[in-house]
Each structure stands twice: as C-alpha cells, then as structure tokens.
C-alpha cells in the first residue's frame, strides 16, 4: 500500500499556525512581488476569491470582505514543510517527498487498518505542527493521489480515504471526471472526452490497445495504475532538472545598466547554487532583461553564452550574465524584469567532455565548496557585483514574521 499525505492549502495554513486569530478566516498568499494570488484557503475560496488574479486589481474588494493577504514567506514555509516531512518519516520505512506540501509513504508489508492509520497521521500533524492534511491510500501512486483527492472533497470521510477495496469505489469513479487523475491535463482530458472517456471509471476500463495508437505510453501506465498495477517507481529523489531558472520582477522600475547587472548577478548566484545542489554543470547560460508588457515603450532582449568548459562556478556565471546584459541594454527604458537561465545542464559525474573541453579547475571547485559552506544557513558571503542596496529586491510588503527561523521574529505570548 502507498499513502499520499497532502497538506490542505499549505501556504495559507502555515500563515495561521502562529495566528490563532486567523484560523477559520479567509487567507490568501501572494506571489513574488505581491503581484498575483497564488494560494487561498477554504474560506477564501468559499468567498469566490479567484486563483492567479492580479492582486492590485481586486485588493479593495478583498479588504472589504475581510480577506487577509500575505506576501510569500519562503523561510517560514520551508521550515514548516521540513517539520511535516520529518514527522511523516516516522510513519513509513520509506518516504518520497513530492513537493513542498506532499509526500508519499511506502507501506508495503504493513498490516494496519489504513483508515485508522490515516487518522493517526492527520491528528499528529495537527497536534505537532497545526497543519491540516488529508491522507489517501491506494495500491499505486496514482490511486493514492486519487484517494487523497476524494478525501479532500468529501466531508464525510474526515480527511482520510483508502481505496484498498478498489471494486467498492466504482460508483464514485463514475461520477469523477478524468481530469482528476494524476497526469491527465487539460489537453489530454479534451482528447479523451472526444473518445467518450469522460469519467475515471471510463478511463479505468478503457481498451488500452485501442487507445495506445492515438495516445502516449504514459496514459497506458496511468490506466494500469488505476487498476492497481504499479508502473511508476517509488523513487525517493525527484529527477534532476535539465534547466534551472532564476527570474523575478523588480520591486520598482530600474533604468541603469549598473542596476540591471546587479540583478542578473544575483540571479546567476542563485541559479548556480541550485545547480551545485544537484551536482550539475552548465554548458550554457542565458540572461534576459525586459520592460513591463504594459509599459508605454516596451523592450525586451536576451542573450546567451556558451561555456568552453561545463562548470558550476558562480564567478564565471556572473561574468557571463553581465556580458549578456551589457549587450542587450538600451538606455531610457523602464526595466521591470530580469533573469538568468542555465540550460544544457549535465551531471557532474559521470561527465563526458568533448575533445576540446577541459574540466573545471580544482581551484574553482574548492572556492565554490567554501562559498556554499559559508552560505549554508544564511546568505553571508556574496559576490560584490550583486550590489549592497538592492533596489530591485523582491517586494514582500505583507510578509509575516519568520517565526521559526529568526530570533528577532519569535511569536509573542501574553503572560
């Protein structure tokens, strides 16, 4: 048996952990720069707050409705996520973290009453973290994911759903649309509907031989998984990314080359940190700058640099990013956004070099190792080209305190 534990509206639930006054109130969380609404709790959804809506457009309406808005507080979210995952590690011999708020548990060979076990997990995460979660059980990852969805939607189930006895669920599967199946996106749903496959029941009993000609191999696997036959590995590590991007809108418009260079230097630094974390090397870097799409005078340009040696050296990446920006820069535009991408990413080991490529120097590798060690917990040492006064830094005007990661931000308790 496999379980999927999924936090309910994770970001907004985190915001209520140290704010009991907000529990049961509508909460939303905004994206970088406070631009769009990216998370809404149940109460906010019930009020009809739309997803991904530009915040400034409906701010006054939300204020009137008493909706509480927060800027993204990634420091807090990642600590709380870590606590949730730490606790889940106690509930299974093997776990696979799927995202910041989702985790699969491998329970093969465990002879629990799964419904009771699920409630135990729900109660424990509420008690220890104040995180509401739902738990779904199924023979495969696809079924565990589906069970979790059913647990979230049905009030009767109280947050736990087990598809252990698969046959008993046909009536429910007939009512659920195929789009609720893991990996079935909008476009695939459309194509399936054209073939009269509308409900999950339809898909589960579809003729795979017939479908395969018209659709891809992954769908066949999904159908197998819906029938309780495992096709997806219980891999503990997500696959390394082939591309790494770091981009962001500026807090305010910027006009000078110097400031743009600072911004891309920071993005190059962040992207390289991510790259080193996954033991990767990059062969190519792209950088771009652009004005807002809505500006009177729009301009956007990008460029890329091919490295003679695949590497993960922050210094070289900054050099490259700055060179691109220098080439792209045109004065008198109000720049709103910049970013850096690392493309053509390869694994550090085993690295296959072409005849003309030399490996990254030992000196540079050592420097990067020291840099990462120093910056492990907090950004302490950076390349000076990132600038000291970061006017372009992210706007997070409504950020909650970092209750669990900063001593100056501790919650205050009345005595």
């Amino acid at each position: 048996m496999i379980a999927l534990v999924d936090c309910n509206t994770f970001y907004s639930s985190v915001e209520a952990i140290f704010r009991p006054d907000l529990r049961g109130k509508p909460i939303i969380v905004l994206s970088n720069n406070d631009s769009a609404i990216v998370a809404r709790n149940r109460e906010a959804k019930a009020l009809g707050v739309p997803d991904l809506e530009p915040y400034f457009k409906i701010k006054s309406q939300l204020d009137r409705l008493g909706v509480v808005a927060f800027s993204s507080n990634y420091e807090l979210y990642s600590d709380i996520s870590h606590r949730v995952m730490e606790i889940l590690g106690e509930y299974a011999p093997e776990v696979s973290i799927y995202s910041i708020d989702e985790c699969f548990l491998m329970l093969d060979g465990c002879s629990y009453n799964f419904e009771n076990y699920g409630h135990e997990i729900v109660d424990r995460l509420w008690r220890d973290v104040r995180m509401p979660v739902c738990v779904g059980f199924g023979q495969t990852k696809t079924l565990a994911k589906l069970a979790n969805h059913i647990a979230k939607k049905s009030k009767k189930l109280d947050g736990v759903c087990s598809l252990e006895n698969l046959k008993a669920w046909d009536a429910v599967f007939k009512k659920l649309p195929v789009s609720k199946v893991w990996g079935v996106g909008r476009r695939l749903t459309q194509r399936l509907n054209e073939m009269d496959i509308v409900s999950i029941y339809d898909l589960k009993n579809a003729n795979t031989a017939k479908l395969q000609k018209r659709l891809n191999i992954n769908l066949e696997r999904t159908i197998e998984e819906l029938n309780g036959n495992r096709c997806f590995d219980f891999e503990s590590q997500p696959e390394a990314k082939q591309q790494i991007y770091s981009t962001r809108s500026f807090g305010e418009k910027i006009f000078t080359l110097e400031e743009l260079e600072q911004a891309v230097s920071m993005h190059a630094t962040l992207a390289m940190e991510k790259l080193r974390k996954q033991s990767g090397l990059a062969r190519r870097l792209t950088a771009f700058i652009s004005t807002s799409r809505f500006a009177d005078q729009t301009y956007s340009n990008s460029g890329s640099v091919q490295f003679s040696v695949p590497h993960n050296d922050t210094g070289l990446a900054i050099q490259a990013a700055k060179a691109v920006v220098k080439r792209c820069f045109k004065p008198r535009y109000a720049y709103a956004r910049a970013g850096v991408g690392l493309i053509d990413v390869v694994d550090e080991n085993p690295l296959q070099l072409s005849v003309f490529e030399a490996p990254q120097s030992e000196k540079s590798k050592q420097l990067m190792a020291v840099l990462d060690q120093l910056n492990k917990h907090e950004q302490q040492v950076t390349y000076a080209s990132s600038g000291i006064h970061q006017r372009w830094a992210m706007r997070r005007a409504m950020k909650s305190p970092s209750y669990t990661t900063r001593i100056s931000d501790l919650p205050v308790i009345k005595c």
Binding site: F18, P20, R23, G109, V412, I413, K414, C415
Partner: protein, 143 residues
C-alpha cells in the same frame, strides 16, 4: 524492510572515521585525559526533546512571575507533550496566545501572580491548548 535499514546503518557506522585525538602517540605512560574525551554539551539537546514539534516564543507580561517566567523571557514550547493539570501551557483563547498554568479540576487558566485573576474556560470560548512550556530562558546580563 526495517531490518535492511538496520544492517545498512550498522555498515555505515562501521565506515565512520574513528575520533582523532590531539595527543601525539608516545611509547610512555598515556595521558589520563584521553579516556575522558566527550562531546561538548549542546543546550538544544537538553531543552529540545522533539525538534519537529518544538517552537520558541517570547513571553510578554508579568502574570507568570510565580513560575519564574518574566517579561521578555524565551519560552520553549513543545506541542507534542500532553498538557496535565499544573503544567505551564500556551493556549489560544479567543484568538490570542496566552501563557498560563492549566487547572483542569477548576476548568480554568491560572496566573502565577496574585494580581492577575484566573480565567475560566467555558464552552462558548474559542479555546485550544497550543503546547506545553517545557523550559524558559532568561538573560541575566540585560541584553
């Protein structure tokens, strides 16, 4: 599955480097200090029994002086400890976080300072125990 992990752990332990001693190797009488090599005390280990359910907070107010909790002290709160009568707890009451002594017999939250009244707990209240204060920490040098 569990047995596999045990075996793996045992193997990894076997591969760990042995502690290195600063004492040089000499053929004479060994230093009596060598036998006592130990890790330095880690305060986290002393006050945090359950890291994933433990939080720090700042006390504000004077109602808990009788328990030795003063304004500005740092509180260590464990959500996983069962709150028993007589324990210092943090509770959410009507949306506010309070630190008081739990008295289940009289269904109330007691202050540890005679100048502060008890707070009765009743059904209409929005009341939830948020955790047990396991330790408190005070800075005695005024900074």
């Amino acid at each position: 599955m569990r047995l596999d992990r045990l075996v793996r752990c045992a193997e990894e332990l076997g591969q760990q480097p042995l502690p290195s001693f600063l004492e040089g190797v000499s053929a004479g009488f060994p230093s009596p200090a060598e036998a006592y090599q130990e890790e330095r005390i880690d305060l986290n280990e002393v006050v945090i029994k359950h890291p994933s359910s433990t939080y720090f907070a700042r006390a504000s107010g004077h109602s808990m002086r009788g328990c030795g909790i003063y304004d500005g002290d740092l509180l260590v709160i464990d959500r996983s400890v069962e709150a028993k009568s007589g324990f210092v707890i943090v509770a959410a009451m009507n949306g506010e976080l309070l630190c008081k002594v739990l008295d289940t017999d009289n269904r109330c939250l007691k202050a540890a300072n005679p100048r502060y009244p008890d707070i009765p707990i009743n059904e209409e209240m929005d009341f939830l125990i948020e955790g047990v204060v396991t330790h408190s920490l005070r800075c005695h040098t005024g900074t």
